[in-house]
Amino acid sequence: MLKAKPIELIGVTKRFGHNVVAVDHFNLSIPSGEFLTLLGPSGCGKTTLLRMIAGLEQVSLGRIMIDGEDVTGIPPNRRDTSIMFQDYALFPHKTILENIGFGLKLRGLTKSEYRKRAQEMLDFIQLPDIGKRRPSQLSGGQKQRVALARSLVIEPSVLLLDEPLGALDANLRRRMQVELKRLQRDVGITFIYVTHDQEEALSMSDRIVVMRNGQAEQIGTPDEIYRAPRTEFVANFIGQCNVLEGKVVEISDSLVLCTHEAFGQLKAVNPKGFSVKLGSTVKMAVRPENIAINDGARGKENGATVIKRDQIFVGSTSRCIVSVTAGMEFIVEGPRVAELANTEKVQIGWSADDLLVLADEDK
């Protein structure tokens, strides 16, 4: 077990030139040993934030603390962090053993010492025989592990990973997800993981930060983020959601009653307590898998009769697109939707607990 250290980001801002703000007053505290994922579309600032923690990018404003110590101005070679790049950045003219031993050599270990440690690391990643090879002779998965070994051998307190599985095929990627998660638990250090792949984020993280325009859109456990997305952006970025807009007519406790042109009356819950005003419009989201059809839809608070349009086969379950009115489509998911014929009239319905009020995006 290595020593994990907590990280504190205080108002961290990155500006490029005068107009571009890549990361905007970002605040976050990351407890030691956490697997944290920065998730977002390209250009949301997640990689810039990671590079600032590594020290590869200068902070325009704000502070970065590692273990209570301000490291904002400290160059990357004197930071207790280690970064793993998407292209692995293995040195092509060095052997695998030299690649892994490079960081140790810089820390003053003798040749026999660092070679021994590097070999131990190769045993650890279960590739004991590749020490003499060069990076060009390795497969993608092997390179990935070697890069991981090179980053871990210097015993950092934080490992930063910049889309490390991006270059692997889907099958290998899934295997590596499990492996990375297990490894993180074994070595016990803090992982900060950058990805645009929501599935990766959901399956590996202790906590996810959904980023948008340089800011945190929502921070929470995978379960929280999936079940209770805060905004329309999060709802659509994590899985798929049907988003509705209604006019508020009644508010009682956490229940919000709205009118909707196609569904008539809608009953939604507001568990996060976003401010909702009578007479204003509000956005609500319902997951496709929470929508029941025909018999199952009976007795639900919300619903309508719709027409089935298209079928999307997704393996374990079926998904179909239904049209509610001429211009409005809905996605419904469940084992029984496959039985429906195209253009068949279907009754859909879902309960108030599954229709979540979303935060106003402008705030």
């Binding site: 990357p76 790049f85 810089l106 090179r150």
Partner: protein
């Protein structure tokens, strides 16, 4: 049929390009005082004459000193310039790049003349050092162009990975950047060497008594036709070709890896 014609055409063009050089090599082996076809008798006597020519050795040594030094220094300067011109982003970067390689597009005779005037203004002695400086004006831009090409393919994440693992700038330069750049560095040194070794106009304008090999050839021809010139030409040609081949080989090997 079309294929054969194409082959014939290509062969003719290559022959036309190399015929003068082949002629020169052939004449270096004649016994006659003046080169004429058909060659009546063969001899190595002009090689022997050159062997005894003290001036030739001096000129050859001068040329090797100037070309060797200039090609290394120009490559070092070009390396640093190309490094910063590709690594950093700043306003006017492409303008600066263009500005730095402009000397390549100036006719050599103008370059030579302006340098002569410039040095004369400051009363600098014209010797091998001024030739060296003059060659640098052309060779530094050449190095920048050669090295910049390879720098543009350098994965900067490698440099960052080295920093991240604890290496400082100098360490990273020597252990990570330089090994990657090596083929282009070798190529740059060799190509610059062939340029400087053959260069006549700048050297002619910028030296008085310490002459380089091309000047020696020129003066030999000017005073009265000396068949040793064919021998020098043959030697210089073979030397330049082998150096140029080495340079190409080095650059190509680099691009493949």
């Amino acid at each position: 049929m079309g294929h054969a014609l194409l082959h014939l055409l290509s062969f003719t063009i290559v022959l036309a390009l190399y015929l003068p050089i082949i002629t020169l090599i052939v004449f270096s082996f004649t016994a006659a005082r003046y080169p004429f076809f058909p060659v009546k008798s063969w001899s190595l006597k002009w090689y022997e004459a050159l062997w005894k020519d003290q001036q030739f050795y001096e000129a050859l040594t001068n040329s090797i000193i100037v070309s060797g030094l200039a090609s290394v220094v120009a490559t070092v300067l070009g390396f640093l310039a190309a490094y910063s011109l590709t690594r950093s982003t700043f306003r006017g970067r492409s303008a600066l790049t263009g500005f730095m390689v402009i000397p390549l597009s100036v006719p050599l005779v103008l370059l030579a003349l302006s340098l002569r005037v410039y040095f004369a203004t400051f009363q600098v002695n014209f010797d091998l050092f001024t030739v060296f400086l003059g060659h640098m004006v052309y060779m530094v831009p050449l190095s920048i162009l050669i090295l910049r090409g390879r720098f543009q393919g350098f994965p900067w994440s490698h440099e960052e990975a080295a920093f991240d693992l604890g290496a400082g700038r100098i360490r990273t330069l020597f252990e990570i950047v330089l090994p990657w750049m090596m083929p282009a560095v070798v190529g740059s040194i060799l190509l610059n060497f062939t340029f400087s070794f053959d260069e006549f106009i700048i050297a002619w304008f910028l030296t008085n008594f310490e002459i380089t090999l091309p000047i020696k050839i020129w003066t030999d021809l000017l005073m009265n036709y000396d068949p040793k010139v064919n021998v020098i030409g043959t030697i210089v040609f073979l030397l330049s070709v082998s150096v140029a081949f080495l340079a190409m080989f080095s650059l190509r090997k680099g691009n493949q890896s």
